[in-house]
């Protein structure tokens, strides 16, 4: 654990963002119970320090790829709670117009490329985004979040190799929460040291305490500096833990209540809050005020989502293609046109 806390504004920003994520997820669970959110719902409680500590370092030129457990990453990237909750309620005002739901949040204006729900599939996509940035000399880095379960997929190994071989600016962030759905790491991987796996491909790699936002912050700062200096990829294994079930259909037969309670003692929000209070950076009353503001934000976002509209069924087949045959090509809506930036 880092000895010295950074300036107050940063600590308050981290704490606030982690509390916003925790509160958003609580609201999601409630809305799910009420039948207003359907489908699969995967909550991020316990893992907040990873997204919050990492995303704070990303600029507008950087890109992000995340998984189906991505509400926190979307919020940390600056997407509004309104657009996220409206998406989960299937509303046209949702960030993906209600077509994606919980697992498929997108915001091209923030270079947030999902919200991808096939385990491991985001790694090649992130590798390609980094290739595009390298070719176009944008200076952007792509942050790719994935769970440790993805390391069993071929796409993990193929992407490590490609990113190292082609020297691509990707920050691979493995959120190791010890369970691939309900299968413990030791029951699915012969070698459980992911840092060693990344290094085997020539990718610089470090192990990080993913329950401590200060540790994530420091590691990501160093990794990004290295990527920006060398153009080469970097891998961080963030050891963390999911406090809630894998999804809302999970009886958690694969882990003990004691284990969960032990990890909860390392709650990243409680940890930072108590240290900040002890250091005199923030008062308990101020934390209460922050929580009240967040509660208001959540209430507002739920109300926004509930009064949202449904995309007209007539638009069901819109956007399968940019244009239908026989009609003129529309200007490609790709988020970033290369323009003159890349001249080989």
């Amino acid at each position: 654990m880092s000895a010295v806390l950074p300036p107050r504004e940063r600590v308050v920003a981290w704490l606030t963002m982690m509390m916003r994520i925790r509160s958003l997820e609580a609201a999601c669970a409630e809305l799910y119970g009420a039948g207003k959110i359907r489908g699969f719902l995967h909550l991020y409680d316990g893992e907040e320090a990873v997204a919050v500590g990492a995303v704070a370092h990303l600029g507008a030129e950087d890109a992000m790829v995340a998984t189906y457990r991505e509400h926190g990453h979307a919020l940390a990237r600056g997407m509004s709670m309104r657009s996220i909750l409206a998406e989960m309620l299937g509303r046209a005002e949702g960030c993906s117009k209600g077509r994606g739901g919980s697992m498929h949040l997108f915001d091209v204006s923030k270079r947030f490329y999902g919200g991808l729900a096939i385990v491991g599939a985001g790694l090649p996509i992130a590798t390609g985004l980094a290739l595009a940035d390298k070719l176009q000399k944008t200076g952007g880095v792509t942050a790719c979040f994935f769970g440790e379960g993805a390391a069993a997929e071929g796409s993990f190994h193929e992407s490590m190799n490609l990113a190292a071989l082609w020297e691509l600016p990707v920050l691979f962030l493995c959120e190791n929460n010890l369970y691939a759905m309900g299968t413990a790491l030791s029951r699915s991987e012969a070698v459980t040291d992911f840092v060693a796996k990344a290094r085997a491909y020539g990718v610089a790699a470090e192990l990080v305490d993913g329950m401590d936002v200060l540790e994530v912050d420091a590691a990501v700062a160093q990794a990004l500096a290295a990527i920006r200096a060398t153009g080469r990829p970097y891998f961080l294994e963030c050891q963390t833990y999911r406090f809630r079930a894998h999804s809302m259909f999970d009886a958690q037969l694969y882990r003990s209540k004691t284990e969960v309670e032990e990890w909860k003692k390392r709650d990243p929000i409680v940890g930072l809050r108590e240290r900040a209070i002890a250091a005199g950076l923030i008062g308990a009353d101020e934390v209460t005020t922050i929580q009240q503001r967040i509660d208001d934000e959540v209430r507002d976002a739920i109300a926004f989502a509930e009064r949202g509209t449904l995309e007209p069924v007539e638009e069901l087949t819109k956007d399968v293609y940019a244009h239908t045959p026989g009609t003129p090509l529309r200007t490609p809506p790709a988020g970033r046109e290369g323009g003159d930036a890349w001249r080989p």
Binding site: A63, V65, G94, C95, S96, K97, G98, R99, G100, H104, F106, D107, V108, Y113, G114, L116, I118, A121, L123, P124, I125, A126, T127, G128, L129, A130, L131, A132, D133, L135, Q136, T142, G154, S155, E158, S159, N161, L162, L165, W166, K318, D319, V320, Y321, A322, H323, T324, P325, G326, L329, P332, P333, A334, G335, R336, E337, G338, W342, R343, P344
Partner: protein
């Protein structure tokens, strides 16, 4: 006008694309130093350099996915997959990502990627290098599926595909690469939306695509000698299908034969017959007949491979059957 091979026509399309679109680059297994498994990209590495002619490791899901990511990021990858059998290793990225992202993101994302692959049988490459999966891919909304049969299309579909804001898959039949013919020096991009009548006729419509177009044309010549005038429709694009050209041909001939190197069950030939029956049942004077590959993994031995594939004789027989001749 010059005599060139289909292989050279594809290469001309590639060169034109690379020269006119500075964001375009070619990536795939052995496209660079080796010159392409089917020698399509021979010489391009020296001309365009390793940044734009990018050799890939044997990792189809990884490099096709990286191509999709690169397209999302604003460049224009042309990905070569050595054969369509190998594309099965990249199905996840093509079907779950490339095909879905525009719709699933509410129209925010665009995946302007072109994926080229070799398809088809006839070179005694046996059951892991000879199959025709274009019909499978044509099942998927969100992607376009092209099958160039002629030199003009081999040359012109690539730049047209590159201009598309959506994923386009191009299936080049391995038997066509060595085919020679005349190609205009100023041949350019072609329309991707329309099927074309390669030979007009009045008695029966033969709908096909890719290398089978040439078998159908040969069959049509044989049929002519027997007094049957066959019209050959080249689909060119398997998704989206140009229903109009098919239906208007059937409305003239009232008889339909579909030739497809894919297997019959659940095939593009089944889709075409279904559409004609749904939309023009009353126009038909005979049940449609299909000529497809035998439902076996394509075997190595020449006589068995030949027996497994649609043949000119089989197409003639089918056309005579629908004409009651």
């Amino acid at each position: 006008m010059a005599t060139v091979t289909y292989r050279e026509a594809v290469k001309r399309g590639l060169r034109a694309a690379l020269m006119s679109e500075p964001r375009a680059f070619l990536m795939g297994e052995d496209v660079g130093a080796y010159g392409g498994c089917y020698a399509v990209s021979k010489g391009l590495l020296a001309e365009f350099g390793p940044e734009r002619i990018r050799d890939c490791p044997l990792a189809e899901n990884g490099f096709v996915g990286a191509g999709i990511g690169a397209a999302l990021g604003g460049v224009r990858p042309i990905v070569e997959v050595m054969t369509c059998n190998f594309s099965l290793l990249a199905l996840d990225q093509i079907v779950n990502n490339a095909a879905t992202l525009r719709h699933m993101s509410g129209g925010q994302l665009s995946v302007p990627i072109v994926i080229r692959m070799a398809t088809g049988a006839g070179r005694q490459l046996a059951a892991q290098h000879s199959h025709s999966f274009e019909g499978w891919f044509a099942h998927i909304p969100g992607i376009r599926v092209l099958a160039p049969a002629t030199l003009e299309d081999a040359r012109g579909m690539l730049p047209a595909a590159l201009a598309e804001p959506d994923p386009v898959l191009i299936f080049e039949h391995i038997n066509l690469y060595a085919m020679e013919g005349e190609l205009a020096d100023d041949a350019g991009a072609v329309d991707l939306d329309r099927a074309l009548i390669r030979r007009p006729g009045t008695d029966a419509t033969i709908v096909t695509y890719g290398a089978s177009v040439w078998k159908a044309l040969e069959a049509a010549r044989a049929l002519e000698e027997q007094g049957v005038s066959a019209e050959v429709v080249d689909l060119r694009t398997l998704r989206p299908l140009d229903d109009q050209t098919i239906l208007s041909s059937v409305a003239r001939t009232h008889r339909l034969v579909v030739v497809d190197e894919g297997w019959r069950s659940g095939s593009i030939s089944a889709e075409i017959v279904a559409r004609v029956v749904e939309a023009a049942f009353d126009e038909l004077d005979h049940e449609p007949v299909r000529v497809c590959s035998a439902e076996v993994p394509i075997p190595y031995a020449k006589h068995l491979e030949d027996a497994a594939l649609p043949s000119v004789a089989g197409i003639v027989e089918a056309a005579l059957e629908v004409c009651h001749a």
